[in-house]
């Protein structure tokens, strides 16, 4: 199929009001979800997922992608106005955004955050369109040993970078892998940790696990301290972001976008490290280096470009390899699965219309984000005024309905509650939840590819190192472990 044919096929799917309306709704939901501290983009995507079950696949996925992109930008609004990041990725935005708000320049900071986000989003979408197809055609050469090495690399990197400690990240990933073994054995069909319960024979429901891990802990945290969310909202002020501000920060925005694209396309890293790296690079190279941390608009631009640059790029490994780039794309993979789609290289052959439909939708999403974001900045006061002590019970009820709707099974609601407490215990013990979820998704794939490799080789483990592709991933895994261990040890050496 030629490029024009593929584009036409994609356009036939999304060339209707409904698809764009879903994308727009997604952006609105995402911006609101991201703007409410404690709700986060991740939770917004997880809570929206059950509503997509009854939609056409493309509409459902566009809705979720809208929530994702809106949520990442939305997180910057409370970061600037109330010094509380709406999403972890917005933490870097606080460094300069909030001091600007304290000076009465919140409107200027938010304007820059929006323009940097939209620019980075467009760059990221472009990278996705350019590289995903190329990577997918390359990935058609992958066999089980290559996929095993790739998944192991993804798990290593997410365990290492998603928290403060490689060991705690590894613990989280291991717990996810263990939970993924529940159910019938992939080859022999015998029971593993099912305790004789037929509900567990198909494994634990992925959506129940993810909603339990990412939504319920926030509700439990609210029970622990119902006033922890209260903060003071700053006024927007009269100054606005000008074209001169934008052009002055343009270099940092493009650099941040590139950093976002690069880090986002590596499975497992996500937006927060990208935002901090982009911020530190901008500070290192800026003429106004001394102002960073005190309310420098270039700092806001760099961190927002860094975290939004990831949004399209995380879809590269998802669509091309079937490996989620971060925790939100791990949730979005659920939408693909629910609709009977399997992301990966074969999707570029079997479902090329959906792939190109998504590309078209993503390009439009950058424009929609500009519109929705402009309104959201002015409307944040109303979002901030939503009483969280009423919002969280509503989230609980939404979780119950949503998780039940997946399989019409009350058992899944129980799984969600249990996973919620597991997630809360992990949160209290500073164990990141993202490696858990990604390992839970990738666990069966990892084991399946391992066993297929062993079957192919007559149980010779050397097949796992059979060629340049596996060597490449093993090398990356080794470098990741070495780099993270070294940085951990360095942090621990007391400054003399």
């Amino acid at each position: 199929m030629s490029l024009m044919d593929s584009l036409a096929a994609g356009l036939s799917l999304v060339g209707n009001i409904e698809a764009f309306f879903m994308l727009f709704c997604g952006l609105v939901i995402g911006v609101i979800g991201g703007a409410i501290p404690g709700l986060s983009a991740t939770m917004a995507v997880a809570l929206t997922l059950p509503f997509t079950f009854s939609m056409a696949p493309i509409n459902g996925i566009l809705l979720l992608l809208g929530v994702y992109k809106g949520g990442i930008f939305g997180g910057s609004i409370p970061a600037i106005l109330i010094k509380t990041p709406g999403t972890p990725a917005s933490s870097a935005t606080i460094l300069d955004g909030h001091p600007m708000a304290e000076r009465g320049e919140a409107g200027r900071a938010l304007g820059m955050a929006l323009y940097a986000s939209c620019t980075a989003d467009a760059v990221s979408n472009l990278a996705l369109i350019l590289f995903a197809g190329w990577l997918a055609s390359f990935a058609l050469n992958f066999g089980p040993p290559e996929f095993f090495a790739l998944i192991l690399f993804s798990l290593t990197i997410i365990a290492g970078v998603s928290g403060e400690s490689l060991l705690r990240g590894a613990l989280s990933a291991l717990a996810g892998l263990l939970l993924a073994t529940v159910g019938l054995d992939l080859v022999y069909g015998t029971n593993r940790f099912t305790f004789g319960d037929p509900n567990m024979m198909g494994g634990l429901n992925f959506i129940a696990v993810l909603i339990g891990l990412f939504a319920i802990p926030e509700i439990i945290a609210m029970a622990w301290n119902p006033v922890a969310h209260l903060g003071r909202t700053r006024a927007l002020g009269k100054t606005k972001c000008t074209l001169a501000d934008y052009l002055g920060s343009f270099k940092s925005i493009i650099r941040g976008s590139m950093i976002g694209v690069f880090l986002g396309s590596i499975p497992g890293i996500g937006a927060a490290p990208s935002a901090f790296l982009s911020y530190s690079e901008a500070r290192r190279t800026s003429k106004n280096k001394a102002n960073f941390g005190k309310g420098e608009i270039e700092g806001v631009a760099a961190s927002e470009a860094g975290n939004n640059g990831v949004a399209g790029a995380t879809l590269i490994p998802l669509l091309a390899l079937g490996v989620p780039g971060d925790v939100i794309t791990a949730i979005i993979i659920g939408a693909f699965m629910v609709h009977g789609l399997q992301p990966g290289p074969m999707m570029f052959i079997l479902n090329v219309d959906i792939i190109y439909g998504l590309f078209i939708g993503l390009i439009v999403s950058s424009v929609f984000l500009l519109v929705v974001g402009s309104v959201a900045i002015r409307g944040f006061k109303f979002v901030a005024d939503v009483p969280k002590r009423i919002l969280m019970p509503a989230v609980l009820v939404l979780c119950i309905y949503g998780v039940f709707a997946v399989n019409n099974n009350i058992f899944d609601v129980g799984v969600m509650f249990v996973m919620g407490w597991v997630g809360y215990i992990m949160m209290r013990n500073r164990i990141p939840a993202a490696p858990f979820l990604i390992a839970f998704i990738l666990g069966p794939l990892l084991e399946d590819n391992f066993r297929q490799s062993m079957l192919m080789s007559g149980s010779d483990p050397l097949i796992l190192f059979r060629g340049p592709i596996t060597w490449f991933f093993w090398l990356l895994t080794a470098i990741t472990v070495f780099a993270i261990t070294r940085s951990t040890l360095r942090k621990r050496v007391p400054l003399s």
């Binding site: 029971n191 209260l230 939404l398 019409n408």
Partner: protein
Amino acid sequence: MSEKSLHLRLGIFMSLFALFLVLFAIPTFVFAPSNVGNIILSPLFWPYVLAGLAGVIGLGLLASAFKPGADVPYEDEEDTPHPEGSTPWLRLAALGAIMVLVMFGLPRLGMVWTAMLAFAACAFLFRTRHPIAALVCAVVVPLLLYAFFAHVAGVAIPQGNFVRLP
């Protein structure tokens, strides 16, 4: 809390958990056909590998607890004060009880009524400052969700044994 105390606690837990998996959970709850010739292809192999990794991570956590600099307390510990006369552990227990009651109520009362009660109970547990709004939302939100999931998405929402909705 410092990294030392955290890693010590997690290290001990993981080491014991690995032993529990190897000595009890895997032999008892993972079944393999007797004719599997190759251990690597057995359904037992992967759980044992993971149990071994759990042990390694547990030992790693224990070792890292005793490295220099690990006993410095974390800087970003929870600093927001609890409300006056607050009993956080009691609230956690109450929320746990609400979840158990939800599981009990779903097949008997139906999802809508259970959700209404759960909503109201949670709002008051979280000491809402808008009790009337909370009660209105407790009624409206589950009904709206019911309308969507039952009539738009076609999900068979449990109706319970008492009051059935259209």
